[in-house]
């Protein structure tokens, strides 16, 4: 197995305050990794770092030969303007950006792929619907269809099942399983610990500091969860410069 993502003493944060502190480790190619931890643990921050939206304050992230733009990313709070006059089909077709770029057309194969992706997420027949008419669950399905089309080796999902009903979560998790079987590397943040236990082989428990990383059964223990909660204090405005590096 080779490492798809490697973190070398990565610190990520805002205004010099670390939100992810000294993370070391690697995500194997083809891994299905759940990133868990309390609110404010740095999960989203870590993902932003992986997709290049946030530059590390220290350390570096290696992407196994990929660039940040090769990684498909579903942000937790998508900045989507739901009132924008665009339909589901056009929205999903954005997933072909890497193939079509600024000017390329969408050929027969591309159109078939779009139809397939829409069917795979259960939105067949929604092509011409305006995105403003979609429910929260349908919106998430549409974004998954776009992810499907992006055909990325690494897929990063920030709270993909937040505020989504059980049926939709199950359908969307089937897609994640499919990506996993296609040997793609998938990282997802989740809050449902039981769901993680049942479905993710590997987990990273984060509380600004990495608390545990490994087989899910070893990571998700009562002791570790308690430790994570204790570590995750509010960030200190008057914190002094980190001495860890010098040591």
């Amino acid at each position: 197995m080779t490492a798809q993502l490697r973190f070398r003493d990565v610190t990520l944060g805002y205004d010099r305050h670390p939100a992810v502190h000294h993370l070391d480790g690697a995500v194997e190619s083809g891994a299905l990794l759940a990133v868990i931890g309390p609110n404010g643990a740095g999960k989203s921050t870590l993902f932003k770092g992986i997709v290049g939206a946030l530059k590390p304050l220290a350390g570096d992230i290696e992407r196994g030969g990929l660039t940040a733009r090769d990684i498909a990313y579903l942000p937790q709070i998508a900045e989507i303007d739901r009132t924008f006059p665009i339909n589901v089909y056009d929205m999903v077709s954005m997933g072909l950006w890497r193939r079509a770029g600024l000017f390329g057309g969408i050929d027969r194969k591309g159109r078939d792929a779009i139809a397939e992706a829409l069917a795979a997420v259960g939105l067949a027949g929604f092509d011409r619907r305006s995105i403003s008419t979609l429910s929260g669950g349908q919106m998430q399905r549409m974004l998954f269809a776009r992810l499907l089309l992006q055909d990325a080796r690494v897929i990063v999902l920030d709270e993909p099942f937040n505020a989504i009903d059980a049926k939709t979560s199950a359908d969307l998790f089937d897609l994640i399983r499919r990506w996993h079987s296609e040997k793609r590397t998938v990282l997802a943040t989740l809050h449902d610990i039981d769901f993680v236990r049942a479905n993710f082989p590997e987990a990273l428990l984060l509380a600004r500091e990495p608390v545990a990383w490994g087989r899910t059964a070893d990571v998700v223990t009562p002791e570790n969860l308690l430790k994570a909660r204790r570590l995750c204090e509010a960030f200190d405005d008057y914190a002094s410069a980190c001495a860890h590096q010098a040591a």
Binding site: A68, R69, A72, A78, I80, D81, P85, I86, M94, L102
Partner: protein
């Protein structure tokens, strides 16, 4: 009779033909720009930028009188400086674009009016504030036409990143770096069109032919392509009908054009197919599914 009313003014008078050609060219370029300004929630930015052009044009006026070249160059330079400065500040700091532009709005207007008054007469001032659509010379007409052409070409080039950035900026950032350059190119187009509009309709009304047709389009079209065409067509109709109105009723032509656009807007707000008032008040019985 109908001929006399609707067509004769243009066949008989050259200045009416020129005014019509100018208005149509203006509408075709400014309409689509207005649609994007509206969808990017930058409607007021257009307004602020139109005012930002004034001091530049006024300095051109101060240096060489009512010269097309000097006033255009001055307006373009002032517009670009403000647009790019505001755009960069908005992208690099926490301050939102409208906030950084709001400051320019009044300062520019005051500065521009002061500079024009230093040298010119009240007529010059009216000229600058409300334009001279009935007195477009060859050069000005050419400038407006060239600007409209450039606008449509550049818009076609940056269309995809521009649309994606409006709907889902995060996604665009994750797949491409084209968002920033497209945004700057778009701001440049706003300036170019406002300078065109400045010559025909003046500082105060130039934004009208940009934003009113866009607002009208929002009430009739559900997707952006249709919206762009509706906006351009609305601008053309407003130009044509406004000129007729000003011809027959003896009204100032620039304000007449914007007034017609205003009437179209009022009609759209009331009767618009997409979210118009009547539609909302009397939606009809709900459907089966």
């Amino acid at each position: 009779m109908l001929y006399d009313l609707f067509i004769a003014p243009f066949t008989e008078f050259e200045f009416m033909r020129r005014a019509l050609a100018g208005s149509v060219a203006l509408a075709v370029g400014a309409g689509p720009i207005g649609v994007f300004l509206m969808l990017r929630r930058m409607s007021l930015v257009g307004d602020a930028m139109a005012h930002a052009i004034l001091p530049g044009a006024a300095i051109g006026f101060l240096l060489s009188g009512l010269s097309l070249f000097a006033m255009t160059a001055g307006g373009l330079i002032a517009g670009f400086v403000v647009a790019f400065a505001a755009g960069l500040i908005a992208r690099m700091t926490e301050l939102k674009e409208d906030a950084s532009l709001a400051a320019f709005y009044l300062i520019s207007l005051a500065l521009g009016v002061t500079i024009v008054s230093m040298k010119g007469t009240n007529i010059d001032l009216l000229h600058v504030l409300f334009g001279t659509v009935l007195a477009l010379d060859d050069q000005t007409l050419m400038l407006i036409a060239v600007n409209a052409t450039i606008t449509l070409i550049v818009l076609a080039v940056i269309y995809r990143p521009l649309v994606v950035e409006c709907v889902d900026p995060g996604f665009l950032r994750s797949v491409s770096g084209a968002g920033g350059p497209a945004h700057l190119a778009f701001l440049a187009l706003v300036v170019v069109n406002l300078v065109s509009g400045f010559h025909a309709l003046g500082t105060l009304l130039a934004v009208g032919i940009m934003m009113l047709p866009a607002a009208v389009a929002r009430f009739w079209a559900r997707d952006i392509t249709a919206m762009i065409f509706t906006a351009a067509a609305t601008g053309c109709v407003a130009g044509y009908a406004g000129l007729l109105l000003s011809f027959h009723a003896g009204l100032p032509s620039g304000p007449a054009i914007i007034l017609v656009a205003g009437v179209l807007y009022a009609v759209s707000v009331t009767f618009g197919r997409v979210g118009g008032l009547l539609r909302q008040l009397f939606p009809g019985r709900h459907l089966e599914a």
